[in-house]
Symmetry: none
Subunit: 225 residues, 2 copies
Amino acid sequence: MSNILIVDDELKIREIIKKYAEFEGHTVTEASGGLQAVNICREREFDIIILDIMMPDLDGFSVCREIRKNSSTPVIMLSARGEEYDRIHGFEVGVDDYVVKPFSPKELMMRIAAIIKRSSKSDSDMVKIGGLCIDFTGRMVTIDGKNINMTPKEYDLLFYLVKNRGIALTREKLISNVWGYDFYGDDRTLDTHIKLLRKNLGEYSSNIVTLRGVGYRFEASANQT
Amino acid sequence: MSNILIVDDELKIREIIKKYAEFEGHTVTEASGGLQAVNICREREFDIIILDIMMPDLDGFSVCREIRKNSSTPVIMLSARGEEYDRIHGFEVGVDDYVVKPFSPKELMMRIAAIIKRSSKSDSDMVKIGGLCIDFTGRMVTIDGKNINMTPKEYDLLFYLVKNRGIALTREKLISNVWGYDFYGDDRTLDTHIKLLRKNLGEYSSNIVTLRGVGYRFEASANQT
DNA sequence: CCCAATGTGAATTTAGTGTGAAAACTCGAT
DNA sequence: ATCGAGTTTTCACACTAAATTCACATTGGG
């Protein structure tokens, strides 16, 4: 269902959360410390991050602040009882929710479900792949909330690729659907636009997979380079 | 953005809400008890009131009932876990929403935003984007309170753009909706009116985004130049 | 290693939009 | 009727972003 990152120095806590989360159908990645968490987040996107406050190397707030620099992934903080005051620090780093330890795993799962539900907007026609978001009604593309400037052809090409994500598309099919069946032009035109599109997609450029001798396929899932 | 009254006997809860709310741009007033809240409400109006149920002097329901005697300000109740029964009670006194403690600050903020949006929508037919305000009933446009003189066509065009803000509008769609389906005129007519409209919108001119090869889109959010 | 397929940068061409000025139209006041 | 201020439309042209081409580099499979 969702990709969850659990960050806690206590193995037992991680195991409990992992067990429950996997039971709910989520995919879990673990980090035993703050620094490790920051490094993992630089490499890949998660749908939700569960973050302990008290950790020996780097505390939860610092981790959250670091993550927020290039991602808006929801964060749930785990605080030990009595650390009430810490809640106040959360606002400036953009914490989404708190759960006080010792917590009920079921409650945590419910909060995860609530956050996932609210972050997946269903009011307009759009596709999200990690931090990449294609809004069809607005003809708009954003990466981690930042607007990406797309030329008409780039957008049309991306649109067709994404609409048929996970499916192998021949060059002929792409050309006739994006340019029109009557397009007669250079062979390199498609490559060039794929190139431009990849450049624009930045970290998501590798989601456009080249199928040698065939064409291209848009990878449906977020990439974990 | 809005004036919020927070009523809770716990200082920490008030502090958390205040921090988050001020971060969102709201102005916050605090009351540490029910009686104080009632007194403050007699003196001034708020856009929204966040009200704890359990308070030593006067409980949330009584406060709400008292406030409702001469105001229809939206109220969000904070209830402790397990106080399910109170929900039913709440509807009788005119509560707008509930948040169960311990709550997610972000969720509370979203509910505040939802209520503000809802109440501002119903009482007057207007759209605000930053300092730009389009009053449909009055057919009036203001920027930072200053009246903007609009020619009929300019207004009609802006009206259609704003009504469909966030949506990519083709030139054809714009033409047929603003001029009429049977308009047969120069290609440059639309551009010219977009030009005039942009000139009139001043700092908000960039909210009309050109979608090359397609048309235009009105950006829903305020721009930060 | 070879070769066909794909990637790339730069140059060129094309197409779409912005703009100013002038013409044409509207409509109320004289 | 006529005027005239304000408004709308047209048009020629400027501008520039975008599409395409092409020569050459790179890659990956047999």
